[in-house]
């Protein structure tokens, strides 16, 4: 479980960066929101996959 906590740090930072960039992008160009949202959610899903693999391993290795 401590290992999972450590494993969640990376995706946490990554998801933060992705949405920071998304908010920046929308603030600069509001009409691009539709396209940016797709990319942001896709990036969020990819980054979160790492955290999910972490929690799965935490249960498997328990």
């Amino acid at each position: 479980m401590i290992g999972y906590g450590l494993a969640a740090i990376g995706p946490g930072i990554g998801i933060g960066l992705i949405f920071a960039a998304y908010i920046n992008g929308v603030a600069r160009q509001p009409e691009a929101q539709g396209r940016l949202q797709t990319i942001a959610i896709l990036g969020f899903a990819l980054a979160e996959a790492l955290a999910i693999i972490g929690i799965a391993l935490a249960f498997v290795l328990n």
Partner: protein
Amino acid sequence: MSSVATSVTRAEGFKPPSPGDFNLPPIGPDKTFEWLGETHYLGVTKPMIQLVLVAGIVFIFFWAASRKRAMVPSRLQYVGEQGYGFVRNSMGRDIIGSQDFLKYTPYLFALFFFILINNFLGSIPFFQFPTFSRSGLVYSLALMSWIIYNAVGIKKHGFGGYMKLMCVPSGVSPVMYPLLVPLEFMSNILVRPVTLALRLFANMFAGHMLLILFALGGQYLIFEMAGAYSVVGVVAWLLFILISFLELLIQFLQAYVFVLLNAMYIQGSLADEH
């Protein structure tokens, strides 16, 4: 549940909730059978009943909402139309594209409301068990989505063309292919359904576990411990209420993300070579 937990805590101190709490016993008579050297239960459990119930609720609601098809919508029809419009426009049209989104909207629509109501059952009194905190039920949803987006892509591009679309990244020099093609295959064909299922499962599971922990821990601190500990127990219960609202948000968000990713995968399968 709570009375059982209290009697346990009195006997042997506080026992934190564990993943075993999610293994609900079958309703009715217990029957077991042996398969592959392990004992399995044969019977109907609460999540199974919830699945069927939610399918019925969603069907009846939208059947009632769309029965009259009045030009000036009644309240019920308005709610139904808003729900349908939300899925159709924000997930279907914006992601899949305005050419062939209508073909896939029924699937996305049914999937979204099925998952949404199932998630909300985690917060509705009496049920209070998010159906998809049992991983087996989510795997079937992910398998269905996996079959659909692969079938759509294979139908459009043929098997070879689809594999090329999924595995060979464009705009990269062929020198990098030995490294990138297995990676792309892994991420697009193998990891996608796994993460799709595990994301929904893990969010529902972890959220509900957190709620149980705060509820039981607060109860133990208030009723079993003396002095300043019971004050901490009140704080735990306050947090429990706040986290319940966070759970409502997450329950919606996970249904949204699941369907949005489905739409994106379908769109990726339909896409022409870029």
